[in-house]
Symmetry: C2
Subunit: 281 residues, 2 copies
Amino acid sequence: MTGIVEISRSRFFEGQQIRFQHHSEVLNCDMTFGVFLPPQAETSEVPVLYWLSGLTCTDENFAIKAGAQRRASELGLAIVCPDTSPRGTDLPGEHDDWDFGSGAGFYLNATRAPWSNHYHMYDYVSKELPDLVEAQLPVTDLRSVSGHSMGGHGALMCALKDPDRYSSVSAFAPICHPSVTPWGIKAFSNYLGEDRNDWLDWDATQLVCSTEKQLPILIDQGTEDDFLGEELKPGSLEQACICTHHPLDVRMREGYDHGYNFISTYIDEHLNHHAEALGLI
Amino acid sequence: MTGIVEISRSRFFEGQQIRFQHHSEVLNCDMTFGVFLPPQAETSEVPVLYWLSGLTCTDENFAIKAGAQRRASELGLAIVCPDTSPRGTDLPGEHDDWDFGSGAGFYLNATRAPWSNHYHMYDYVSKELPDLVEAQLPVTDLRSVSGHSMGGHGALMCALKDPDRYSSVSAFAPICHPSVTPWGIKAFSNYLGEDRNDWLDWDATQLVCSTEKQLPILIDQGTEDDFLGEELKPGSLEQACICTHHPLDVRMREGYDHGYNFISTYIDEHLNHHAEALGLI
């Protein structure tokens, strides 16, 4: 286990917003991540919500834009925000597209060169980073996971692939069925190759059919989201959940779009959902 | 009165975050500004908090980072955020420094060429923009004013120079005495010339001595603010308020720095302060 270096720290709702850098072994590069520690962490260990961001984001967007720290401070909940891809690797074509490569790791483990040398974001966000955080910061091993868009899909995957690691899961406007939608097809073709059988293990709508434990899924989705029809397809996930009797609550929010104003509006409800599962309320 | 063009609109806490563009006659250029309209504005006119941002900001920083819309939505308070300087003018040297020229209009009326052709930010934020907003949006002529750093000073100036226009004033980490501190001296020398007598009308600590009506001043200030000693000098304002019996409440906030995490932490208290003065609570 390598150490972590503090890059910045700022007092925030009586807690601390901190940014760390460390060397990731599974990603084979240096990474930054953000942590909000609520004031309760000064005297005891607190549970953690892992937040996975969407395409083009870094570890900083959620901490700056979502307005989650106010309620997290009240609840005594830490929030850890990883970056959205390996960084500093400069693979061929890595920075050419906003929806693939850097900023677009899709929270999977790539099997195709050159991506397979670095793009193991699933192992990073679900194992290496929690291990690091739990070893070095005042947090418990009680975890919840949430995210937005590409990161909403990442959160669903984490909870469906390894439900024993998490107490609860939620998502804002998640990509629900990436193996049949444009962003997902582009990412999976490059990271995993053209054999679509290899994609099934990284698609939430498919994973609902094979998960060993049914963690209830909470989703908020804006009706005015420009990506709803072509990229997100919550209806596919709903259908799979109906077939498998998987508990799912999709809340359509009239008039809201895909951005952080939408997330901010409903983040407190998600924090409360996780806090209940984590025994905080 | 020229019209306004809507650039973007997003649903936010059941209200609307909107960005407008218009031609400013006093600034002699096109400008953008942001408005949060709470849901109450759909059925009746609501009062407005004018927020003046700090050095390097645009009209967008506060709307994205401060987390003010949640409480403003509950209160029924609109928030208008102007930009921090004229734009698109490309005067000689205008973009060379982060603390002077574009992004650093200091909310005064410049008298020295070439700045005097455009940099009339005081007239813009205190008269032209409110007139436009009140003519074209569902708001009343009840106004409060607040801001951060350079914009905190702008808010103090607005309230001290024309107290009848505002119901209340507050500031986060304001520059309190710019005629004696480095950012202010640089700006005043260029915008107003070297005669320091001409600076007195644009310095809050001086204006406290001449204001006709004493609007109570609320200030929050972080103790770990890197600019506290050299640039902000709340002690000078406090001294002037003691001498003139001007009501002032400076709240020192232990451990907080100069950034938006600090503003977010206390913005609800400022919104409540203004809402009380505006008759909303």
